[in-house]
Structures are given as structure tokens and as C-alpha cells.
Symmetry: C2
Subunit: 590 residues, 2 copies
């Protein structure tokens, strides 16, 4: 019998649920976190109060901004950070036999009740060097948190940023669907990608948003005999999510579905009731064929195609019989213009005769700009010739290896695509597969610490800091500034000197029109600090979209964006350089 202890940390009357992925436990870490914890304990140093900053050094994808995501999962881990007896036995087995028993007793009692976590709000636009999370607590505990926290923030922020960048290129009016499960880096890569792509501005109608979240839930439910209250939240949030997002069911199909049919003769049950239930068509196959014949006699359509592919026609007809209210056809199995589009239109118009409205087509290969325009022309010609109002606006989805570049190229060429399905390049962050988040000690026992490096960009900024975003007259954020913990905060209307942390010649005076403190308390530990709530995903997404819109456009453009300025106060600048000189050994030239 394994005991599951949940730290009932209960600020604002709420227990924080465990991590979404049940594999995220205190053991999902590097071995050296345990050897260090032992060494701290052995030196009786484990309770020393340390401050760590979690931050990244460079914006991804050649851009000048990043979307911060993963915070809620971090807090869930922290709230439930507790070793089971089984886990402790395993750690004991792995560490050398000489490790003393007292250490395992210490692990047994260990949780995050003495840890304080300050963070920028999830979904915020963030910049290099500015701490996303500041973890303060006993050094051994904070150190154990390093690997899982970095893991949880890294990919989440990377894929959310990738989604935001794709949204930026596609434009606000297009529907963006995440299609990447099969190409994701493992099952969980697919699951978190769905969540964080939504956060970064994708539409909730992704067919996978719902399935992956459900699959998570069900995986858990399948493997648990007692329905643990820990999961109640997922259960509700997911079903609720489906309703909240108002996901229209877009039943579509693959190429295999099309080629699994040989001819319309295969279809046995050919009857279809009209949408209002008032009548029934006995032979829908013939009704479809009638439309094909009409096209062949039509002035405007004649000549575009000869014989359409019969297996494709059979597949479309059969699919429409199964899903008359949500007919979306993949039209490129044989030939888009000479077969797929006319076959789709024949089935769509037969459905229209019975009061159904087809959803549209999906293009998955070829010249998407050209084909979407040709398809639109065909739809418009059909609308005009056969008097079917709105048919010209039939939906066009495109989905073949799309990424920022291909979306941009489509825009430049002109196209008629309404909706994009983006897979591989989105979920694997193909353009840059990792964000280099780091977790650095900045203070211990109230002593600021610095990590030097021959590479200046890798030198850490010491001290327990505060961070502010300063806004200019036009309402844009101008600069982020970090100060020592005890410095007075910047004030609206008061001139403040912002210095580059490492380049002495780069500095500027700013008179902020608005000052926003970035780090808020998300886990107060045993302090009395009020705690920020963890908002629902939808609110995080809204924050993200709003913040992206509020940025000065030159920071956001794809080509040569202007770097957003990140600075330190004059006092912190001086202190950094004092400490640097103090710690670096003086060389001897020989």
C-alpha cells in the first residue's frame, strides 16, 4: 500500500492539485540534486536560506520576445512536493551505503512549506535575464526543485512562444489548429504542446486540445483504482474546457479513408434523412451523381475536370452519410482540381439539397496559395451558377508542413485559406528545439552570490532582486529594470537611470508613465505574503494575447526585430561589478 501525501497548503481555502502529468514527481530530477542535498545535509548547511533565479538568456526563434508558460505546473509540483516511503527507499538504494540514516529522516519530513516562490504571471511577455521565478528557501529543497522546474518552464514557454509567433504571421482572423500529436517528442510532448499552443494564441478548436487532455485524465483514471480527489480538478476543467471553448466538431478524415474505397457501388445504406427530419432521400449516392452530371453540363465548370476519381467520390459520399452535419473533405488524395474539389462540391450540394451545410475542404499538399484560390473560384462559380447562397465562402483549411515561413509566403502570394492545421514545426519547435532556461543561486544567508564565466552572457546577476516593467508615454513597455531587494521602487514621473548589467556604456534615463512590479508571490511558504491565484487557462491566454498586442511593433516583427531593453539600477550595477572583481582571481601574464 503506497501512501500519497498531499501537502494541504490551503491559502484562500484551496488545495493545490498535483501536476497534470503523474510522472512529474520529486524523483523526476538529476541524481546530482540528491548527492548535493546529502552533502548539504552532511555539512549541516541544508537549512541555509538560499535564493535562486530561474531565467533564460536569449529569446528563441531569432525573435525578441518570449511567452512565459508552465507556472501553474511548477506550483502544483511545489504544493505537492513530498517523498513517499517507496521513493525514500529507492534513494537510499542508489546513494552509497555510507550515507547516514538521518538524511533519509530529513527527506521524509521535507516539503515546500518553507519555500517562497515569486513569479511573473503566466502568459506574460518576458525577456532574457529577468527572473521568471524566484525561489527562496532552504538550499537543499530549492536545489531539488531545480531540474523539474526548469523542465516544466522550458518547453512550455518555448512552445507557447512558437504558437504566438505563428499567430502573429497568420493574422488574427485565421483559425489555427494544432495538428502535431503524431510528430511530437513523445506522448507528453504532444499533450503539453496542445495546452501551451492554446495559451499562445491557437484556437481551442484544435482536434487534439480535447483528446489529449481527455487522454491524460483517462490514463490516470484507468490506472487508479481509487478515484483520487487530486484529479477532480482535471476532470472538471477538461469537460468544462470543452464546453467553454465551444469546440465545433470537425469530423474529417485521412488519405487512407479515401483510398480505402473502390467505388460508390460499395455503399449499401444509401438513405439520408433531411436536416429538419421532414423527409428522407432514399438514394443519396444517386443524388450526388446528379450533381456531378450537372457540373459536367455546366458552362462555368465544364472543362475543369473530366472523370473524377470514383473511390474518392465513394469515400466522400460515405463520410457525408455518417456525418451530414459536419462534412469536411480532404481533397488532395488524387488531384485537387480535377477530382477532389468537384467530388466535394457534388456531395456538399447533395447535402445542401437536404438542408445540410458542408464545413469545407482540407488541402494537404501542393501549391496551397494557388489551389486555395482555384478552389475559391470553383465554390463561387457553383454559388453563382446553382444559386446556393454562401457556397462561395465554404471553408478552406490548409495543412502541409506549415511554419512561420510558409505562412508568410502564403500571405505574400495571396491565398483563400481560412484555417491552418499546423503540426510538426509547431509542436517540436523545429526552428529551435529548446529554450535554455537556467536556475542560478543569487543569494545565500543574505550574502549575494555571483556565477562567473568567461562568456559574459553567462555571468549571473546576483542578489535577491525585484523587477519592474516601465511604460512610456505611448503606453508601450519601454524597459524592464531589476533592483536590489531593498531599493525603493521606481516611481511614475520620476527619472531613473537604467543600466545594461554588463556593458558600462549602455545606460539611459527613463521617466516611467506606469510602473508594474513583475514578481508576485505564488507560493508564500510560511510567510504572510498574500498569494496570487492561479487563473484558468483561458485567462492566461487572454493575458498573453493582450500583452502581445501592447508591445511596440518593432520588437515583434519577424525580420531584424529591435531588442527590448533589460536593465539594472545604478546601485545594482555597481554591486554586480564590485562582487565580480572580488570573486575573479587576478591573472599573471607569463
Amino acid at each position: 500500500m503506497v501512501e500519497k501525501v498531499i501537502a494541504k497548503w490551503n491559502c484562500s481555502g484551496r488545495v493545490v492539485e498535483g501536476p497534470t502529468n503523474p510522472m512529474v514527481t520529486p524523483l523526476l530530477t538529476d541524481l546530482y540534486q540528491f548527492t548535493m542535498a546529502y552533502a548539504y545535509w552532511k555539512a549541516n548547511k541544508h537549512q541555509e536560506r538560499a535564493v535562486f533565479d530561474l531565467y533564460f538568456r536569449k529569446n528563441p526563434f531569432g525573435g525578441e520576445y518570449t511567452v512565459f508558460a508552465g507556472l501553474e505546473e511548477c506550483i502544483r509540483l511545489i504544493a505537492n512536493f513530498k517523498f513517499t516511503e517507496d521513493e525514500i527507499s529507492f534513494i537510499r538504494e542508489i546513494l552509497p551505503g555510507s550515507c547516514e540514516d538521518g538524511f533519509f529522516d530529513y527527506l521524509r519530513g521535507l516539503d515546500c512549506s518553507e519555500v517562497e516562490v515569486y513569479a511573473i504571471a503566466e502568459g506574460s511577455v518576458v525577456f532574457p535575464k529577468v527572473p521568471l521565478l524566484r525561489i527562496e528557501g532552504p538550499i537543499a529543497v530549492a536545489q531539488l526543485l531545480e531540474t523539474p522546474l526548469v523542465n516544466l518552464v522550458n518547453f512550455a514557454s518555448l512552445v507557447a512562444t512558437n504558437a504566438a509567433r505563428h499567430r502573429f504571421v497568420a493574422g488574427k482572423s485565421k483559425q489555427l489548429l494544432e495538428f502535431g500529436l503524431r510528430r511530437a517528442q513523445g506522448p507528453d510532448g504532444g499533450i503539453s504542446a496542445s495546452k501551451y499552443c492554446y495559451l499562445g494564441g491557437f484556437d481551442a478548436t484544435s482536434r487534439k486540445v480535447i483528446w489529449t487532455v481527455l487522454s491524460m485524465l483517462l490514463a490516470v483514471v484507468r490506472h487508479i483504482n481509487l478515484y483520487l480527489p487530486t484529479y477532480a480538478f482535471f476532470f472538471h476543467s477538461n469537460v468544462a474546457a470543452g464546453k467553454l471553448f465551444g469546440i465545433p466538431l470537425r469530423g474529417t478524415h485521412s488519405h487512407a479513408f479515401v483510398s480505402s474505397y473502390m467505388s460508390p457501388d460499395e455503399i449499401i445504406d444509401k438513405s439520408l434523412q433531411s436536416a429538419d427530419g421532414s423527409s428522407s432521400c432514399e438514394d443519396f449516392v444517386i443524388l450526388v451523381q446528379t450533381w456531378i452530371n450537372k457540373f459536367q453540363l455546366s458552362n462555368s465548370l465544364r472543362g475543369i475536370f473530366g472523370e473524377t476519381n470514383q473511390s474518392e467520390l465513394a469515400a466522400f459520399t460515405s463520410y457525408a452519410l455518417a456525418f451530414p452535419i459536419s462534412f469536411l473533405a480532404l481533397v488532395d488524395t488524387y488531384d485537387v482540381m480535377r477530382s477532389g474539389i468537384p467530388n466535394f462540391c457534388a456531395v456538399a450540394l447533395a447535402l445542401n439539397d437536404l438542408g445540410y451545410k458542408a464545413v469545407g475542404i482540407r488541402l494537404d499538399s501542393g501549391d496551397l496559395a494557388y489551389l486555395s484560390c482555384e478552389a475559391r473560384k470553383f465554390f463561387s462559380a457553383v454559388e453563382k451558377e446553382f444559386g446556393v447562397p454562401g457556397f462561395g465562402k465554404t471553408g478552406i483549411t490548409a495543412s502541409n508542413d506549415l511554419n512561420e515561413e510558409t505562412l508568410d509566403a502564403l500571405n505574400k502570394q495571396g491565398h483563400e485559406v481560412d484555417s491552418y492545421g499546423i503540426g510538426t514545426y509547431l509542436v517540436t519547435c523545429y526552428a529551435q528545439a529548446a529554450l535554455g532556461c537556467v536556475f542560478k543561486l543569487v543569494e545565500i544567508n543574505n550574502q549575494p552570490r555571483i556565477k562567473l564565466s568567461e562568456d559574459v552572457s553567462k555571468v549571473s546577476i546576483p542578489c535577491k532582486k525585484r523587477s519592474y516593467r516601465l511604460y512610456g508615454r505611448e503606453g508601450y513597455p519601454l524597459v524592464d529594470i531589476m533592483t536590489g531587494g531593498n531599493e525603493p521602487s521606481p516611481k511614475v514621473g520620476e527619472r531613473i537611470l537604467c543600466r545594461h548589467p554588463f556593458n558600462e556604456s549602455k545606460r539611459a534615463y527613463v521617466v516611467p508613465q506606469k510602473v508594474e512590479e513583475l514578481l508576485k508571490c505564488y507560493w508564500p511558504g510560511s510567510s504572510d505574503e498574500p498569494r496570487e491565484d492561479l487563473p484558468p487557462l483561458k485567462d492566461i491566454r487572454d493575458r498573453c494575447i493582450k500583452q502581445l498586442e501592447r508591445m511596440r511593433p518593432d520588437h515583434m516583427r519577424r525580420l531584424n526585430p529591435t531588442p527590448y531593453k533589460v536593465s539594472v539600477s545604478a546601485k545594482l550595477y555597481d554591486f554586480i561589478h564590485f562582487l565580480w572583481l572580488n570573486e575573479a582571481p587576478v591573472g599573471e601574464l607569463q
Copy 2:
């Protein structure tokens, strides 16, 4: 109460365990697999016998080979493919209300007992277009398997190939450690990366191989109140794995550990027993200081450094007190040559006085080639001057953003690194974040099917096929050939024409010296075919290493490798092109 049904498919007296990641369930799929399944069912077509090939189109990383991995997880999914009542309720909720009840009854009874899976052995070297898996069974079931199977093979094969490529550049004698958990694409990205990097030739001593696998196990155990027999295998295989791989505990530490110390005065308990327990050193701190003093008086070492960093010295001393048998120090927090190396040596020699042998150092920044050579010189000088046999061979591990290119550059410059820790570039497959595996229908009801495309590389090769690897006189594999299912197999010593599937001018006669059939039965369904065993990971890794060694070197080189030939029989070639002409509509120029 949720029921967990395990298909007790029991060939060779063994139940196949469920997928390693409990999130891999029949619901980890795209919605359209369910809409298609419904459409098949509605058209009474769901039981039609279909054959699908799972293959990729292009080798990753600009290379000419791929390592196939993920098969065992696929078979685990298939063996346990069964919907629970909860899952069925969810599917019902998501599909339109008009879907008939009979479909859900059908899902309730659905499993993979009528599915046959043929596959290439896991760990094999494989090539584009040749099926890695051939799935034969009722079309609705086979279709439901598409997304999870592609997901399970894609990243596994990609990261195993990446590991093999890193091993190729590093050389056989180096130790390769996988360090990437914190940068992986989510928790599971890290877990599967550990497994498949080992498969691809990394060493078992990765600190994460053990922790991640354990964490998986424990995640499951933590969340399950009844200890399910399904997981017994993991339990044993993982503990066994630790023993089998003979993992030496390499307790190391991070930069934060070093900078958490201020000076050796902090160390309270300074005593250390000798390795053989015969004596005890009362003040290890003083013993270390004695060595620092000796260095400063030494002829060969004097001048390399002045004052070493005291917080670093304190951290090393403290760590050695905790782990005297496995002292490995990170030496680049302040300055490698002027502080880290002398500090390490002082602690290592103090340990040596007490009969302990230090493991070595880790370099995590700077010019690794230069620093490793300088460190080696220092170690050798210490060996000579102080008469410590073997000290010159002290281990040097390097670990800063390494990838194929940097390993290659290190080799060209000359270096003294014994062991590499590779993280981000390895586990995220940074150079190419996805392998484009596809799952294509090649036959239904014994009728071959083809998927056309304007891009020839995307045309599928129809028919239920057999595949062979033909070996030449020098023992190298020469060509893979696919034939129709009923063609006689190629014979040793008999000339056979191998044709490029799509380019009529590319063809060659081959007289094979050895013929190896590639597809073996891993899941016979209800057929009487004998079933291949799923070998332990260690054997898969051995196969991989052996197969990589057996390849002709020009296929394996990093720069402009020669493509390995993939062909079809003359008969299959003719058939492909007959079918192609048959399916493609004839255009009309206007």
C-alpha cells in the same frame, strides 16, 4: 471503480505489459481516427481487412541512416488496446448525438486480437520507404492505431539515431552521458530520451537513465492504490537494469553548490575516516590546505596560480567529506586553471592520503580542448612531482552545449576529455526536431492501394509487401528490396534486378551473398505465425551497435554520405506504375 482489462495474449507463456507511460492509451489519438472509425462502421466497412505501412521518407540530420526504435512500446500498446467504459462514455460525449449506439458496442468489444504486426527488429539500422511496421487487420482498428504508433516510433527512432551519430563522432572509447532532462520537451521527452539514447549507444552510466526510469515507476506506484501486476515488469527491469548496467555512482554537483559556500571556516565536522577504516583524519580541511601550500612551493606547479577561490575550496572539501569514494568536482565556477584545478587536486590528494581515489573533474564552459589539455598537464605534473601513480589519468568530463559539430571540432583540435555529458542537442534533437514517419494504406480486401501526390517522394508504395536486405561479397549490406507478398524471395547467389521505385533509369543487378528478411511477426493476432520475442533493452542496444559497425563506412560519414539503396522488384515496379496510371486523372491542357 474503473476496470482495467488486459488482453491476455499469451504467446510463449507471457503477458505483454502495458505501455511504459500510463498516458499512452487508446485515447491518445487524433479525433479524426474516431470519426473515421464511425464512418467505417456506419458503412459496414469496419471489418474490411486493411494493410498499413509505417515508414519514414528521409533520413534525419542530413545523414543516410536511421536507427529504428519504439517497437516494444508499440507492441505493449497493441497488446493492451482496449477501451474502458469511461473512455467509451467520453467518446460518446464528443461525437455528434446522431451517432448510433451500435458503434459504442463495437468499441466496447474492440481489441487487437485480429491485428497482425510485422516489424523490423528494434535497434536495426533502417532506411527510407522500407516499412518499419506493417499493420494488418480490420480497417477501423488499424486506423485507430495510426496516431499512437507514429508518435511512439517517431521520437524514439529520432533520438536513438541522434545518439548513434553522437557516438560515431565521439568514438568508441569515450564515455557518453545523457544530461538533458531539464531541457527536454516535457517530462516524458526526458524519460524516453534517456532510454533511446542508451539504445543508440550511450553509456548506461547516465545519471538519468536510472532516475527517470525510477521516477516513471514511482509516479505510477504513487498514484495507484492497488499495485497492479502490469507494472511488475518495470519494477524488476529497472532495479535489474541498475545492476546489469553496473552504474558507478558519480556523485557530482552544480555551480550553485560551489557558490553556496563562503570559506572553509564554514565546515564544522572536519573528520574523515580512511578508506580501509584503519585510521581517521581529524581535520581534513587542514590536510587539504597542506596540499595547497605544497603546490605553491612546487617547482612544476608554481606560477600557474596564486590564491585559489576559497568558497570553491570549501565546497570541494565539503563534498569530498560527504562522498569520499566518488569525488567529482565541477571546476569552472571561478577560473579553471587558476582556481578549480588546483583546488580539485588539493582535495583529491588529501583523499589519496586517506586511501581514496578521486573520480575526476567536469568542465562546463570555456575552451574545452585547451582546458582539458592543461588539466591533463597539471595532473601529470602532480603525478610526477608528488609520486601519485595514476593521478595523470584522472577523469575529465566535458559538458557545455555539446553536439556532433563540437565533438568533431574537439577531435580535430586534440583534447584530453574522457567522458562527455550531452544534453540539449541530444534529447531535443536540436539539429532536426522530428522524423516524418507516416502510416499509409497499401492494401484493402486484397486490393493494392496507392496514395498519389504531386510530390513524387510522397507517393506511397502499394501492396502488402515483403522486404529483404541483400548483402555483398564484403559482408556489407548492399541494398534493401521490397517485393509483392507472393513473389519468391531473393536467393543467395541468384542474380536479381533491383529497381528504384519511381525512377525508371535507376536499376541494378545484384547477386546477394546473404539475404535477410526484414519484417518479422511481433503480433500474430489470430494467425498461427510464430511470434518474435521482445528482447531486453541491452540486447536491442547490442544489435544497434553491431548493425552500425557492419555498414559500409561511406554511408555513415558525416560529410556527404553515400545514400544506401532502397529498391523494389521488377514485378512490384511494374505494378506500382500500372496502378499509378490507373488512379491518376488525365489532364487537359487549355
